[in-house]
């Protein structure tokens, strides 16, 4: 009887292909992994399966038209894509924003941050625990709460994820009557639920053993790779654009920047959990202090060429749930843009993957990849 042999390059090492369709690849991400037993020797990541040419599209569309397209970039936190673009255009065209609109922007951004971190939390545990196990339980608990946020968004803007809320000079939708109550009820409920999440996994030695001292990313390396957001803060750098360069009305709110020095999977996870708590704080302050007044300083958009830009170059960045989400615009004084560069955070966060995975085990791949929280609409643009 002839016995077939699984082909490999050598006797010891095996090239395993993870992705683009893999349960833990968070989208379409392919890694070629050379394993020796369970230990990973080499990683070749492949991205670009979701490349849509958004930057090129930005050169063809006018800024007004480009806003809803940007929503689709980081589809888990659409507001944080519109936000820097609106800031940049407002800077170029000298538009000021009424205070009520700023508050609404912050509320939307922070709600989006919670919902995005809930997706992270759910999928991260799903990767760690499997679809047929405790992971899926936590996943569904996280999505149960996220659903409430999406319901609030749906009542507010009509859309659940791609809000198209922010426009130049303000926001497009005013809050509906009863928004305060909905939000406060949600926050009250959510505070208890966060405790439940923490109890669910943080006392569990299995979880701690799998996340502590795994995928260690030192501070210096993280900065060289341009990692930002929770990945950088998980490595012990207290850098948050909301504090470092307060845009919008963030300087009016009191909140902390959580950061952990270890740089492992656990600290990246913990930073996000604490960030959700900080977001609750910000939301509480914002909903109390929301002023009345107009939501837009410009007349509503009529034609696509309604914004005339000065000639110039602008870079504006906001702290999205995944890190520094920046927009670099070159305008030549026409109605369109000459060049748009989207500094999407996960592209840079993901580029450390070859560094982090070397020497890890196969089971760590999912934990490490999950802790970077990539969104492939954001990576590939």
């Amino acid at each position: 009887m002839e016995i077939n042999r699984v082909e490999s390059n050598g006797f010891e090492e095996l090239w395993v292909n993870m992705g683009p369709q893999h349960p833990a690849s968070h989208g379409v991400f392919r890694m070629q992994i050379k394993v020796d037993g369970e230990v990973i020797k080499e990683v070749i990541p492949h991205i670009g399966y979701l490349h849509r040419g958004v930057e090129k599209l930005g050169e063809f569309l006018t800024p007004v038209q480009f806003l809803p397209v940007l929503d689709r970039n980081d589809y888990l936190s659409s507001v944080s894509n519109e936000f820097p673009f609106a800031l940049a255009i407002e800077k170029l065209a000298n538009i000021n924003v009424p205070e009520r609109a700023e508050y609404l922007r912050v509320i939307a951004a922070e709600l989006m941050r919670i919902s995005s971190h809930l997706v992270f939390f759910g999928t991260f545990c799903l990767d760690m625990g499997g679809a047929l196990g405790g992971g899926s339980t936590i996943f569904l608990y996280a999505f149960r709460e996220r659903e409430k946020i999406l319901d609030i968004f749906e009542k507010w803007t009509g859309s659940r994820m791609h809000l198209n809320l922010i426009t130049f000079g303000g926001v497009r939708y005013d809050i509906y009557p009863g928004f305060d109550k909905d939000l406060k009820d949600f926050l009250k409920d959510f505070e208890n639920k966060i405790k439940e999440y923490e109890d669910m996994i943080e006392n569990n030695p299995v979880f701690l053993a799998r996340t502590k001292k795994v995928g260690i990313l030192p501070k210096e390396i993280a900065m060289e790779y341009g990692c930002s957001g929770p990945v950088l803060r998980g490595s012990g750098v207290k850098f948050d654009l909301r504090k470092a360069k307060p845009y919008s009305v963030y300087n009016k709110f009191e909140f902390e920047i959580p950061s952990f020095p270890d740089g492992d999977v656990y600290s990246r996870y913990k930073v996000r959990i604490l960030e959700m708590k900080e977001s609750i704080k910000i939301l509480r302050q914002a909903i109390e202090g929301i002023p009345s007044g107009p939501i837009n300083s410009l007349m509503p958009v009529k034609v696509k060429t309604s914004i005339k830009l000065k000639e110039g170059e602008v870079y504006e960045a906001v702290e999205s749930p995944r890190g520094e989400n920046g927009v670099y615009i070159v305008s030549d004084g026409r109605f369109g843009l000459y060049r748009v560069k989207l500094r999407t955070p996960t592209f840079y966060n993901l580029s450390v993957i070859p560094y982090l995975l070397k020497g890890a085990l196969i089971a760590d791949v999912v934990a490490i990849l999950g802790s970077l929280d990539p969104v492939f609409g954001d990576v590939d643009r």
Partner: protein
């Protein structure tokens, strides 16, 4: 370690949050943006659209095509000879609704509208008018008038 077991046990006796969809339906909010459109008619049953092409101008994905008529209708307004909206690339950004000066194009609050035929995704004028008759009660709160009023800075 035991806490996790306790929490799952606690959840075992909580009420499930699932809405069993075809049996029970979720309440659809007033402002819902679902990518299905209608062209409205005024009280005399005449199409409100005046074929001003503003929606065609602003659409980010160029899915709207309007061909204005040469002559005017009985109300003395121009009207669209043809109106075509291709849903297959629609972003549901609600710009077309927002710019419409006559509240002619509106979104319909409908969940789970689907079709097996790709041709059905191209909404022509007849189909859009038919949608208006069919879903009269489901028209979104956000009409052009409403949106512009909401956004206009009060001076």
């Amino acid at each position: 370690m035991v806490k996790a077991l306790y929490i799952t046990l606690k959840n075992l006796f909580r009420k499930p949050v699932t809405v069993m969809y075809p049996d029970k339906k979720r309440e659809i909010p007033n402002r819902m943006r679902s990518p299905l459109f209608a062209l409205t008619k005024d009280e005399d049953g005449v199409i409100k659209c005046i074929a001003c092409k503003l929606c065609e101008n602003i659409c980010p994905s160029n899915v709207i095509k309007v061909i204005p008529s040469k002559e005017k209708n009985e109300k003395g307004r121009p009207y669209p000879e043809e109106y075509e909206l291709n849903l297959s690339a629609c972003l549901a950004c609600e710009y077309c609704v927002q710019v419409c000066p006559n509240d002619a194009i509106v979104m319909i609050r409908i969940f789970g509208w689907a079709t097996k035929n790709k041709e059905d995704l191209i909404l022509r004028k007849e189909k859009l008018l038919e949608n208006y008759e069919k879903y009269k009660d489901l028209i979104s709160e956000c009409t052009g008038e409403f949106l512009r009023k909401m956004q206009t800075p009060r001076r």
